[in-house]
Every structure is written in C-alpha cells, then in structure tokens.
C-alpha cells in the first residue's frame, strides 16, 4: 500500500515517516504531497507564536485538552530553531504536552528549523497537509520568536494567536516589529503577575491605532494563565467566535486562497532557481566566473545576463 493511502487512513507511522520525507527533501516528497492534496482542506489551522518564554507550549497543551473534550482530533507541529553552529537541535516543546502522548487523537511532531531550501514555511506547510489529509480536525503550528521566519510560518495558519507575557522586556519591541499585524487573537499569559495589566493596555493601545478606522474588526485581547488554566476556556471560546466571524465575512476563504498563491510562488521560485542552477552548471563554473570578475574581464550583471540569455535560447531551440 502506498504511503499516501496509509496517511489518509490515519496510520501514525506513515504520517510520521511522511514528515521525515518533507524535512529531508526526500525525492518522492512531491509526488506524496500531490497524492494527498485532494484530501486536504478540511482542517482548521491555528498558529501560535510569541517570544521565547511566553508559555506557548503550555498554552498549546491547555488548548489540546479543550479540543479533545469537544471530540476533535488535534495535530501539533512545534518548530524549534536549529543551532547555527552544529546544525543540531533540542526539540523540547513537546515536553509540556507529554500528557497527551498516549492519546490516539493527538499527534505531536517537533521540527527543527534547519536551513531549508524552501524555508521553514515550506516544510511546515507540507507537514500541515499531511496532518490535514490524515483527518486531524485541528492543526496547531507553534513557533518560537517573532521574526521574519515566524511571520512566514504563521502564513500557514487560518488564525494566529500571538502570546505575550509580562516581564520579558522585549514585548514593546515585538509590537514595533510589525508582529502585531499577524496576530488575530492576543493572549497575555501569566496574567496573575502584577504587570500583566500593563501589557494588555499597551497591546490595546497599539491595536487602537491599527483599527482607528474600523473598530468593528477589533482583535480580542485575552488574559490567561497557561500554568493554572485560568482564562483558557474563555480564550478557547473567543477563538471559535473569531473563526466564525472570519468565516462568515469571507476573510478565512480569502486567507486560504492567499496561502495557496503564496505556496505556488514559493514553489515556482525554488523550482526556477534550481532549474537555472542546474542548467548553468552553476556550482562547477562558479570558480572560473569569479576569476573573470576578479581580473575585471567581466562584470557581474553582464556575465549573468549573458549566461541566462544563452540558456533561454538553448532551451527554446530544443
């Protein structure tokens, strides 16, 4: 039986193996994704992000419990950074979700960010498809930090929770860095701390600026304690209200179309790059080109434009 068929039947080993194929850019990966693609599009994808130490995994753990209570199957993809020095990684996010390790309705996969060709977003997007095709109702993608990579990863989600926490010192910066744009729901964790209210006020102030014209679309700001579970039921409820809101307004559908467009752009860019690399014999010729530039016999744009023109000619002649 094919891997794709096993995935669609919900076989855990097959799902896990597919994720490995995606991570390792396995040669049969593309065919696999194409085979499962018709079975995708049923799951709701949540993105959870925020600065390190904000309590994202503990929050995810709490939300898994709520989803399970309502009978939904949940798949989780937890992305952790790879070490830039060794390329290794410690994937420890799932430690906080281990109470669900033996639950058949929960699948947790840790992924290291690695140095992917298509970016982390590409492999995360494919991993989401695998879980979607396997019949998970809710897929949660969790990433550390709030940089450019994370913003891309969050593009995979139908709805994004931005988790903030008092006392980290970098929350203001996070707000400035444009991360506010990607959040749908704002979760202030460790709400039992004295200074939690201050963060809430700051978030609301920045959101006020954002929605000066359209207050109706206001994003919920929720106070929770992921450790004790306080406020989680409210958060879960708000999340579904918000989902209903964006579903009925057509925003969700638009997001999903945008996502497909984005994926195609990424695939096209990667394919074209690989194609050109291959036909130009890029890596092998690089040294000699550098020599030409170094001795000033060629200029960089002139050289590359010339090569690409002759490649196009060669290909059209064929």
């Amino acid at each position: 039986m094919s891997l794709a068929r096993n995935i669609i039947q919900g076989d855990i080993r097959a799902i896990a193996r597919a994720m490995t194929w995606i991570e390792n850019e396995h040669e049969a990966k593309e065919q696999l994704i194409d085979e499962i693609f018709p079975d995708c599009g049923r799951a709701t994808v949540w993105g959870i992000t925020g600065p390190p130490g904000a309590g994202k995994s503990t929050l995810t753990d709490q939300l898994i419990t709520r989803e399970r209570r309502q009978g939904r199957k949940v798949g989780i993809i937890a992305v952790d950074p790879s070490s830039p020095f060794s390329g290794g990684a410690i994937l420890g996010d799932r430690l906080r979700m281990q109470q669900h390790a033996t639950d058949d309705g929960v699948f947790i996969r840790s992924m290291a960010s690695r140095g992917h060709l298509g970016g982390v977003a590409g492999s995360t997007g494919d991993a989401v498809k695998v879980l979607d095709a396997a019949g998970f109702d809710t897929i949660i993608v969790e990433t550390i930090g709030v940089g450019q990579t994370e913003i891309e990863v969050m593009g995979m989600a139908d709805i994004v929770l931005l988790v903030l926490v008092p006392g980290l010192g970098d929350e203001i910066q996070a707000l400035k860095a444009g991360v506010m744009e990607i959040g749908d729901l704002f979760v202030i964790n460790k709400a039992d701390r004295d200074d939690a209210g201050k963060i809430k006020a700051e978030v609301e102030y920045v959101l006020g600026l954002k929605y000066a014209e359209n207050m109706a679309a206001k994003n919920p700001v929720l106070m929770v304690s992921a450790l004790t579970g306080q406020g989680i039921d409210d958060l879960h409820h708000s999340l579904y209200s918000y989902l209903n809101l964006i579903r009925s307004s057509g925003t969700l559908e638009q997001r999903r179309r945008d996502r497909l467009a984005g994926e195609l752009r990424t695939i096209a860019a990667a394919k074209i790059e690989a194609l050109v690399h291959y036909h130009l014999d890029f890596e092998d010729r690089l040294d000699s080109w550098v020599e030409m530039l170094y001795s000033r016999k060629e200029s960089p744009y002139g050289l590359m434009n010339g090569r690409i023109e002759s490649l196009i000619k060669e290909l059209t002649d064929k």
Binding site: S57, T58, I90, L95, Q98, R193, L227
Partner: protein
C-alpha cells in the same frame, strides 16, 4: 585599648555569657585535649592582634551571631556530629534489619531512604510503580509497613531522618502513629523530614502538587509541629541535590538559601511568627572533593543565613538565626571505575564536612556508582567517619581553618557570589518565580554542562576515569532488589485493606478532602487520622491530587 586586649575582652565575655552555660549542661568529651604527640590544644584559636571589631563582626565566637565558626559553643569538643547513614531498600523487614545492624555498629541516628513510588505518593500496586518498588529505598504503603520498619527500635531513643518531600506530612503521620503504638509521646519524637519541595522542582523530580498547595502543606507542618512535635526538624532545606545536578558550590548555597527564604516568607504569610518556626528549620548540603572550597562554603552559608534571618526577617532568638545542617558526601563524585578509590574521596569529603562544622553526616559507600551499597561497603563508610572523629584530631578544636588567609578570602568570595544570586532572585519576585521561569535550572545546567565538557577534554582530571585508567574486571557482589517485590508488597497492601475498618477510612478521607478545600485548615490532624485508620499513602495522596492538581515539568534545556 589595643586590638589584642579588645579580643581578649570579647573572648572573656563569650566565655562568661555563652560558653559557661553550655559547659554547665554539656561538659566536653574530655577534661583536656591534646595533639597526637601530647601538646595541649586550645578550644578556640584566635587571631594574634589584627582588627578585633572586624573579627567579631565577620567571624564572632562559636554559638554566637553570625555563627561563621559554628552553631554550638563547644562544637565537637562537646559531642561529635551525628553519624547518620542513609539506608533503606526492599521491604520494611529488610530495612529494619539494616537499621539494627547500623545501630549495632555505632551509628547514632537513623536515616530512611524511601523508594520512588513512596516518594511520589503511589502505592506499590499502582501502575506507575512498575519496576520501582523497593529499588532506591524501602516501600511504605500503610502504617503497617512503618510499624515493621521500626519494630524493636524505640522511637524515644533514636533520632530519625526521613528523605521524604511531597508526601512528607503522610510519612510524619505514620511515624507519630508508630510512636503512639510504642507508647512514645509526640514531644519525645526527634528527627527530620526533608519536606523541601522547591528543590524537587529544581533538581530531584519527586514532586506531586503545584507550588501553592505544596507550600501550604509545608507551613501546615511547621504550625502543627511547633505545638505537637516540638523537637522535630520540620524541614531540611537541601542543596545536596542541587549540587548533584551539577551546580557550583556558590550556586548550591545560593539556591538552597533562596529556597529557605521562600519557606520563611510562606510561613510568615500564613500568619506564623518567625521565632516560632525558624529554630526548627535545618539544612542539608553536599561535600565535594575541593576541600578548602567546601569548608569555605559551609562557613559562608552560616554567616549569610544568620544575616538574612536577623536583618531581613527580624528574628530575635539566636536559634532562629543558626544554620544547622546535615551533610552527605557527593554521590556524583564517585566513580564506577576503580571503586575502591571512592573510599579516599569520601574521606576527603568527610574532612570537608567536619572542618565546615556539620551537625550530622552521611558518608557514601564506595559501590554507590554501581548499585545499592552492600553491608561491607556501608561499614567502611561509617568507619571513615569514626576515624576522622577519633583519630584525626580535627574535632578537638573549633573551626580549625579560621584565619587561614585563603579560607577566609574564599569564604568572603562565596558569600559575595551568593548575595548576588539572592538579590537577582529577589528581583525576579522570589524563588518560586525564578524556578517557574527556569532561571535556576538553567544556571545549574550550564554549570553541569561546562564541568562535564571539562571532564571529556580531560581538563578536569577524574582519577580512574579520564586518567590513570586500568583494565578492570566487572565488579561482583552487587546488591539487588528482588524484582518480585512489587507483587509481595501489593499482597501485603491488599491484606491491610481487607482487615481495616473501611467505613472509618472512608470517613477520614472524606474529612481530609473537605479540609483540603479550605486553605484556612491545617491538614496535619486529618492526615494523621487517615493514617491511623490504615488509609494507604496512595489513597491519601490521591485525595490531595484531586483537590490540588499535579505539577508537571515545564522547563526545557
């Protein structure tokens, strides 16, 4: 007045005001003490001149603030430290025999090791207990096991230390109940429960409940014992495991004292007066191979704690400011390679503890890196203490390393590092927050990682491990626990359940549940009632699990 005169005057005052009282009640071991060659030894060597005020402020006299030189006026000239070997394995019957053997060999106190299910509040027949029953200590399910454990050991004659934390209240209740059956009243019971949950979150892992209800249980015990079991040490605030997890010496002291500060704050918040409970707080440290650093560590710890209690918490009684501590030699320093070398390591560590002024000591057995200690290995470990006590002469004068330029400067530097940590933790909102944030765990792990890397690169030499290795035969005679023990223990438990008055158990557990819901109620009497009715440890803990929830590890590397 010359500085020398000033010092002499201060000494005279101490002798009149403090020492005399002690000598009247507790005479020293001998009339006179001499060196091995017959020279007379003075009780307390003092600086020959120098800055007298500075001396009094930083070192003072033994038994007086800030206790740098020790907590008792005569220290080991009065009485040796308590030689207390941590022991327990298998069934209550087997452990009982080991205790009787140790008492017969001249040990002066008992120290009970419980197995992991007991430490985490699971009965032997619980599915969580598979593989672990009786392994690292004795399995205790009900009062019946505890009766067997202390059979023939009169509780008014021994002091008993119990390494038990999350369910400390339950094991203390069992102990009180055994006392009652022996006809020993509560005020005659002497001993210690570890009862230190914060370091379980940091380093040892036998937690059950989240911090808040855990701190409630701890302060409930403080209040109960202050009234009912006045000679009991209600907590042993432990740096031992923090050090075993790989911390530095200064971190060991810093995080232990920070835990201590958290407990004091919790008790004060529960409305207790500092001087009613602080005198029953005790500590537990590790002794490693770096002899002089370890001695400096113990001396610094005493001075810092005294200042914290006096200045930060306004303690009035001397007892509240004294840091009394138990020491265990460092398990992680022992090697599986050439295990006899461990005897030498333990001897150095014993010296460190004694020169540092410990109140009691456990010496590790040479075979602990291989498995459970055998009787012979335990005896050698105990003999090591006895040799240091009776033959080395270091116990004949007080704080003999005081005034060493090196030791005093190291004491100061450790004190400074510790104070920096304490300030930082205070800034974070206290120790519970610092632990929840993972700050403490991260600091320890970084130290541990650095140290292990140094061993890997042989920058740090460990004899027999990364240098001076030999080809070795596999060690023989390793003590093992019968794997069928869980079954046996489960049968015993089933028998107790069959013969006890079930309705009385149900009523006691229901009362405990009701009490748990009201934070204003002290749980100790309810736990004691359930214990006396032969409710099992697991049954009692499960009621509390329902009410309090469970703590889960949340810190990644």
């Amino acid at each position: 007045m010359s500085e020398k005169k000033k010092l002499e005057k201060a000494l005279q005052e101490w002798e009149d005001r403090v020492l005399k009282k002690t000598l009247d009640h507790f005479p020293e071991r001998r009339e006179t003490f001499t060196t091995g060659s017959g020279m007379e030894i003075e009780r307390l060597a003092l600086p020959d001149g120098g800055d007298a005020d500075r001396y009094t402020e930083k070192l003072g006299f033994p038994g007086t603030y800030p206790f740098t030189r020790g907590v008792q006026p005569t220290m080991y000239r009065g009485r040796f430290w308590t030689m207390r070997q941590y022991a327990g394995f298998g069934t209550a019957e087997e452990s009982n025999q080991r205790y009787k053997y140790l008492l017969g060999q001249g040990q002066t106190g008992l120290s009970v090791a419980f197995d992991l299910p007991t430490q985490i509040g699971y009965d032997s027949d619980d599915p969580h207990s598979v593989g672990e029953v009786g392994k690292v200590g004795v399995a205790i399910d009900t009062l019946r096991d505890m009766e067997i454990l202390f059979d023939g050991i009169p509780l008014d004659k021994v002091s008993t230390s119990m390494t038990i934390n999350a369910p400390a209240s339950v094991l203390l209740a069992f102990y009180i109940a055994v006392g009652e059956k022996q006809g020993v009243s509560r005020d005659q019971l002497r001993g210690t429960i570890q009862n230190d949950i914060l370091k379980e979150y940091i380093a040892r892992g036998t937690y059950i409940f989240p911090p808040k209800p855990s701190l409630r249980l701890i302060t409930n015990i403080f209040a109960y014992c202050a009234k009912e079991v006045p000679q009991w040490n209600t907590i042993s605030i432990s740096g031992y495991h923090i050090r075993e997890a790989g911390s530095s010496a200064a971190q060991e002291v810093a995080f232990t004292l920070a835990d201590g500060i958290a407990y004091v704050k919790a008790a004060l918040a529960a409305g207790q007066d500092v001087d009613t409970f602080a005198g029953r707080l005790s500590f537990f440290f590790n002794a490693h191979n770096d002899l002089l650093e370890e001695v400096a560590k113990f001396r610094a710890a005493r001075r810092i704690w005294a200042r914290v209690m006096k200045e930060q918490f306004g303690a009035k009684q001397q007892k509240s400011m004294m840091l009394r501590f138990h020491t265990q030699t460092g398990g992680s320093t022992l090697t599986a390679q050439q295990p006899d070398n461990n005897i030498v390591r333990v001897a150095i560590q014993t010296l460190a503890a004694v020169l540092g002024g410990t109140q009691s000591l456990h010496t590790n057995s040479r075979d602990e890196a291989l498995g459970l200690p055998t009787e012979e290995a335990v005896r050698i470990a105990l003999r090591t203490q006895q040799i240091v006590a009776h033959e080395s002469g270091v116990a004949n004068t007080i704080d003999p390393l005081a005034g060493s330029y090196f030791v005093e400067s190291l004491t100061d530097r450790i004190e400074q590092q510790v104070n920096e940590y304490l300030a930082k933790i205070e800034e974070m909102g206290g120790m519970v927050q610092a632990i929840e944030k993972g700050y403490v765990q991260k600091e320890i792990q970084d130290s541990a990682y650095r140290y292990q890397r140094e061993i890997e690169s042989a920058e740090q030499v460990v004899v027999g491990v990364n240098k001076f290795q030999i080809q070795e035969e596999a060690p023989k005679d390793i003590l093992k626990v019968d794997p069928a023990l869980r079954e046996l223990q489960s049968k015993k438990l089933a028998a107790v359940r069959a013969e006890r008055d079930q309705s009385a158990v149900d009523a006691a557990l229901a009362a405990l549940r009701a009490a748990a819901k009201d934070t204003g109620i002290n749980l100790m009497p309810h736990i004691l009632e359930a214990a006396k009715r032969y409710a099992s440890l697991g049954e009692i803990c499960n009621v509390l699990r329902d009410e309090f929830g469970e703590y889960r590890e949340s810190i990644i590397l």
